[in-house]
């Protein structure tokens, strides 16, 4: 029942609350406001990438290249500014290239009918190489526009909130609305569940899937902007596990890898679970490697839960 469309993210939210309570009791520092706001900020970039990932997984696809796409966009933005381009142009170019790469992925999936796993595995290799060819080392970012999302902040209930956080929340709300309250959203769910039924109902399956990859690409571009706000440095070696981390967030948020079931609000919770877990375990003095073990166990448990709940529905 946790994966019912009507009751999105209930299971994951309970898990998140439990994790927060456990760490608040077992460590002295976890519940401090500074730490909480740090936890949220730390989930920002992966949380944004996970938003695009959710859309793609809802169509029964998967994106292994999302972080590579984001990293390439950060490099492009940073290098263009270093090369003397106006910062708004660099930003737009980064967003456009990220969206374009999303479009290419969607094109290969819908037109050439290649499995998303293969397409994005290939793209992951290509984009990672291209980034390293493009620049050998990291590029420092001093441009105010490129770091705007991280440097500008305001107080909200005693917590410092960056513009980046605000933008992420707005994106989540907009996509939640689009998925649940518009016909496009219904089509995304239909296509992910039963593409043939969608086609027979007169839905343009290709166009729907393509739109998802395009939007996801644009979101990865915005994730790049977020990333430059958090760390004023475009690094070709950054976010190497971003693809897997984003998939983890999506799965922990209760979205089914089989497509057609899940919600972006679940993903938001999922992204927070990952960061809370890591932050809490760090403060409890538990080694990085054990944190990876814990995250992995959680992912497998979440997918197993999905499997069982589908089994019962059939």
């Amino acid at each position: 029942m946790t994966l019912n469309l009507r009751t999105p993210a209930v299971g994951p939210t309970i898990a998140l609350v439990v994790a927060v309570v456990v760490f608040s009791v077992t460590t002295s520092t976890f519940l401090e406001l500074d730490n909480l706001s740090l936890v949220v900020e730390q989930s920002l970039v992966v949380g944004t990438m996970a938003l695009g990932q959710t859309l793609i997984i809802l169509t029964a696809g998967i994106d292994l290249a999302n972080a590579a796409n984001t990293v390439l966009a950060t490099l492009l933005m940073a290098k263009l500014v270093v090369g003397g381009a106006p910062s708004w142009l660099a930003l737009l170019a980064g967003l456009a290239v990220a969206a374009f790469i999303g479009g290419v992925t969607g094109g290969l999936v819908t037109r050439v009918k290649l499995p998303p796993f293969i397409v994005t595995l290939g793209l992951l290799t290509i984009l990672t190489a291209v980034s390293r060819i493009y620049t050998g080392q990291s590029v420092p970012v001093t441009d105010p526009l490129l770091s705007w999302l991280g440097t500008r902040r305001y107080l909200f209930g005693g917590i410092e909130v960056t513009y980046g956080m605000t933008v992420a929340v707005i994106m989540y709300v907009v996509l939640w609305y689009a998925l649940t309250r518009t016909s496009w959203g219904k089509h995304v769910y239909a296509v992910g569940n039963e593409p043939e039924a969608a086609r027979l109902s007169g839905i343009n399956v290709r166009r729907t899937v393509l739109s998802v990859y395009l939007i996801a690409g644009l979101i990865y571009g915005i994730a790049a902007w977020q990333a430059l706000g958090r760390v004023p440095n475009a690094d070709p070696n950054a976010y190497q596990t971003g693809n897997l981390d984003s998939i983890t967030a999506v799965v922990l948020g209760g979205t089914s890898l089989f497509g057609g079931r899940g919600s972006v609000l679940g993903t938001l919770v999922g992204a927070l679970i990952v960061t809370v877990l890591r932050s809490g375990l760090t403060q409890a003095g538990i080694d990085d490697l054990y944190q990876n073990v814990a995250t992995g166990v959680l992912v497998i448990a979440a997918v197993a839960l999905d499997r069982f709940s589908r089994g019962r529905q059939r």
Partner: protein, 257 residues
């Protein structure tokens, strides 16, 4: 006799090298149930999908309401007033009844859904079909029984003030009571003035509700005759051999190509 609402004239359809429909003629009149029968693989579903715009015919004519029409896709078929209940139902498990009934044709302004309006229309349609087995129109389709799913698929088709409804084996997976309900529903649609095409392998069902019976044999329309002029045995012969006495193919060899 009333004018046909839908007619096929000399329709041919191939999938690559496989010639599936050979010069198929079919007449569908409003207020009548036209049964379309034939063995497995005879081409019944292909006829339906060609009318629905899922497949494009290679040659021949589709005439709707007296006008030759070209139907490039399911939306265009729906615009004309042609609705289909597919053999595998074409429902999405993960959506509820309302969402399924309006899938691809949601109501609302600029893509923003008007859920209340759709819910009301769905409820009214189910009520007009005297469907009482479905408790809430917000139930997810995954939790419905086979008969309830069939009912939803039919309701989805009649929601649109359609003129022709094509049903591809609507009772194949149903028990006795549910089959009864669906057949009553099929009859009621015709009594409301719709042209109804019913595909079925069950001769009892066919003889009970159909006004005319059209038989496909290896992609050829071997006969379309009023039900009262046919016997059960004759129809079975037409289905299995393509001819029965003077009816059907002149020589059995013709069909063995």
């Amino acid at each position: 006799m009333t004018e046909p609402i839908l007619e096929l004239r000399g329709v041919n359809k191939s999938f690559g090298p496989v010639h599936v429909l050979h010069d198929v003629d079919l007449v569908v009149r409003p207020g009548e149930v036209t049964a379309l029968v034939g063995d497995n693989g005879a081409g019944k579903s292909t006829v339906v999908k060609s009318i629905a715009g899922i497949h494009q015919i290679d040659s021949g004519e589709v005439v709707f309401d007296g006008e030759p029409v070209h139907i490039p896709g399911p939306r265009e078929a729906a615009t004309l007033g042609i609705e289909v209940v597919y053999q595998d139902l074409a429902l999405c498990d993960n959506l509820d009844i309302v969402q399924n009934m309006f899938l691809g044709r949601e109501r609302g302004k600029g893509g923003f859904l008007d859920e209340a309006d759709m819910e009301r229309a769905a409820r009214e349609t189910l009520a007009s079909l005297s469907v009482r087995t479905v408790k809430s129109v917000r139930t997810q389709v995954s939790s419905l029984s086979g008969g309830q799913r069939q009912t939803v698929a039919i309701a989805k088709a009649v929601l649109w003030n359609s003129k022709v409804v094509l049903l591809d084996e609507p009772t194949a997976a149903l028990g006795v009571a549910q089959t009864r309900q669906v057949l009553d529903l099929v009859r009621r649609l015709a009594d409301q003035g719709l042209g109804v095409v019913l595909i079925s392998h069950n001769m009892n069902d066919v003889f009970e509700v159909a006004d005319t019976i059209a038989t496909l044999y290896l992609g050829r329309m071997v006969a379309q005759l009023p039900t009262r002029d046919l016997t059960n045995t004759q129809v079975v012969e037409l289905i299995t051999a393509g001819r029965s006495g003077d009816i059907g193919l002149a020589k059995p060899e013709v069909a063995t190509v």
